[in-house]
Symmetry: C2
Subunit: 480 residues, 2 copies
């Protein structure tokens, strides 16, 4: 649709940041809106989001969650009920102050996240232990007034899902938090083919109002970490602020335990960054809007035969796959190859007169460029195999890169060198004090991305910064 500019896409290895912006524009995933920091998600980008929604929503429902929809606007007084929460979010809130011609008595926040309004409703709905657990998720837009933005990774408005659950005990809430963390890890690794580390945030980095925040973190090609999803144990912070109480089996009135968790359209940005190459996107088959494109190649005399054979192939594949048949006559095969490579379609199927003679087609993998001759009668099976192989190989590549760039540092000096020169994750013991965490941030720009389960309680190690006894082993990295 958009005018194709001849402007070259910069090489990914040379200028990741420019490559990222240019690839998103050229592949028509998104476009800048005329308002600062806002973007339009174009059909090619939105189709990835629809696949993400479908695959995640299925996992949520299989684990007993249901969807609902809460209001976009939150009165200022509600946002203020949980002290840490409002402190964390107030600087980024967009405020509605006028409705029609009338000035509002109380400004309404455009939701930056929905704890405050959802908890207000939960305080009406929760009465007895019989009402628990409440396992509600919401697919919605949220707004955060950001100063520096980048398509998908950080925008003023974005789309996400936010789960908000209520439980009778701390243990139930904690189990939910980890169940969701595991769903996120499973989805991002198996469907988006991106290796992630999962673990707990430090107190400094946790969600405003949470007891504990758990996170999945992915490594981008420039060695910076990206927070891909978070799952919060809210403890009783919100239930106390919003009076969410239930009569337990022992007839005592108790404050409920809560969780919240979310992933957003940021996942599209991660997918673009991790898998793409100098020729454009590479979208993992499980979330690709088009899993394959059929390109017919012919001279005038073969046209009818090739085009009609192409139709047959299209018909045989479309029941099982998301496939597009590019039989447009105004473009050459070479142009189409480049176009669909830019758009990241994982598998190209070429069909020419010689292929028809041999009763075959040629598969071309987007990721490796490997060409595979495939007999006509095993088209569906082979397509399935090759897509599965691409999915697997993309993950392996991401995993290998992440592991290669996860390093243990012997001492603080080495840690600083790695974070400056090689980037990636540095794994190191930490005393648990904010002082050391802040020192690392000031001197290296890296933050604690997570404390992995095996790093929760360590003995005999010394903090890499101060040398005092370490409490945790943490993953440090610069981040988006």
């Amino acid at each position: 649709m958009e005018e194709k500019l001849v402007k070259e896409v910069p090489k990914k290895s040379e200028n990741l940041s420019q490559w990222y912006l240019e690839v998103i524009r050229r592949a028509e995933l998104a476009d800048y809106a005329p308002m600062k920091g806002m973007m339009v998600i174009r059909p090619s980008g939105y189709a990835i989001w629809e696949n993400i929604q479908r695959l995640l929503d299925r996992r949520f429902k299989e684990t007993g969650h249901v969807n609902a929809y809460f209001p976009l606007f939150i009165p200022e007084s509600f946002l203020k009920k949980e002290a840490e929460h409002v402190e964390g979010f107030a600087p980024e809130v967009a405020w509605v102050t006028k409705g029609g011609s009338e000035e509002l008595q109380e400004p309404l926040a455009v939701r930056p996240t929905s704890e405050a309004i959802i908890c207000a409703m939960y305080s009406k709905w929760v009465r007895s232990w019989r009402d628990l657990p409440i396992l509600i998720n919401q697919w919605a837009n949220v707004v955060r007034w950001e100063k520096v933005t980048r398509p998908f990774l950080r925008t003023t408005e974005f789309l996400w899902q936010e789960g908000h659950t209520v439980h009778a005990t701390f243990e139930d809430a904690q189990e939910e938090v980890l169940r969701i963390l595991n769903i996120y890890r499973d989805f991002i690794e198996n469907d988006l083919a991106i290796k992630v580390y999962a673990g707990r945030k430090s107190d400094r980095e946790k969600f405003a109002g949470a007891l504990y925040t758990y996170t999945v973190e992915a490594l981008m090609p420039d060695g910076k970490a990206l927070q891909a999803g978070t799952s919060h144990n809210l403890g009783q912070n919100f239930s106390r602020a919003f009076e969410i109480r239930f009569e337990d089996k022992d007839q005592e009135l108790k404050y409920a335990w809560q969780t919240s968790w979310g992933v957003s359209t940021r996942l599209i940005g991660a997918t673009v960054m991790v898998h793409g190459d100098d020729d454009g996107l590479i979208i993992p088959p499980k979330v690709a809007p088009h899993q394959m494109v059929i390109v017919p190649i012919y001279k005038a005399k073969d046209k009818d035969e090739v085009l009609s054979k192409g139709e047959n192939i299209f018909a045989s594949l479309r029941e099982k796959f998301r496939v597009v048949y590019d039989s447009r006559e105004e473009y050459t095969p070479g142009w189409k190859f480049a176009e669909w490579e830019m758009r990241g379609v994982p598998l190209r199927i070429e069909l020419g007169p010689r292929d028809i003679q041999k009763n075959q087609v040629v598969f071309v993998r987007r990721d490796t460029r490997e060409k595979i001759s495939v007999p006509m009668d095993s088209l569906v099976e082979r397509a399935e195999e090759v897509l599965a192989q691409i999915q697997k190989d993309l993950f392996s590549r991401s995993e290998a890169f992440t592991l290669e760039n996860t390093r243990e540092a012997k001492n603080y000096q080495e840690m600083k060198e790695i974070l400056e020169e090689k980037r990636g994750f540095v794994v190191a013991p930490w005393c648990g004090e904010e002082e050391c965490e802040l020192k690392v941030k000031e001197e290296t720009k890296a933050t604690i991305r997570l404390i992995p389960p095996e790093g929760e309680n360590v003995e005999g190690e010394k903090c890499i910064v101060c040398g005092r006894p370490a409490k945790h082993v943490a993953y440090f990295a610069r981040s988006y």
Copy 2:
């Protein structure tokens, strides 16, 4: 979840308005949010919306449409570009005037509809006839600052889909407008089981900025019409305001032709009103969150046998249907019957020890209360048949009611009497002048709901109001 109040639900026939509010609350479709005019769509209501989305989205995609996402905020200056458009919507706009701590230089409208921002993007994307048609739909929330609200039917925020298409010619746009109108009619009649009339709005009633507006209108039990969906031929009004031009095949630069169309969560309100009865909701099987509920009935000695047989039945039905097995022990069968009737589950399956002896179950239809003994070995087939029959019967009932309440008036006096006493639609010739339209509105509160295709150009008839030659035959009714 919610505390069950003993408060009686009023009879539908005696107080439709109170019945509607009470049924929505009791069936937990929605709840009032603590902000004026806003509601929460609870899981039981949202599940209906998910089914509506799925069934409509499939139809849109089958006709070549794709989804995208445009920003929530629209700068005031964009809204003002199309003069009629801003005049129509400005009084209902919620304005964002502050981002973080910063006062905005230009207020941002929270979208009441998205023509203004989408057209701004289209003016960037459209260059050549090759770029056309653009067939984009968006699922989104919108905000209109309403004074009088009612759950689902009119709320400050609601969920909807809005299609926005661009075409090379008037004819292409007109074809799209009617294609969508037909999709709406087909969906509402076949899936929501609500009879609708389809036709064109009068100029007075059309969308702010449109050339023509087409509508589907349903009749509610109190004889008032409800606008259930609209499809607008925007002509070149927006393409001229936003400079959406393309180079045509003849190399001339031309303004594009556009359409927009939408249905909203209001459809849930219509479904509640049309089908429900004194005992609660009746949800048509095609959009019911749960199509059937299995209720085991037993005394202590039969408990294990009945519960385990119930599990088997549940397992055999769940692959094909949205089914719930209510084996909760803290509630009696009678309580469960009432509860699921309130929630509108179209089919109840009762299973007791005598049924097991006879190797059968008992189906109970929600709509007719008819009881049907069904042999165990034909459970799936019979369930399918009975659900299809319920779906069909619900539509027939709605259709019969609508036809019965669609009357031709011999003269203006009779028209006034019908609209006052019997309500419903009055079909009458109309001269096409706003003067007569307004007179009817002032004297009867009825508006022209639509001009049906067969009523577009009539000859030899006289306007029911002024007696001058009629141009159209129109459907008049009071409305929501």
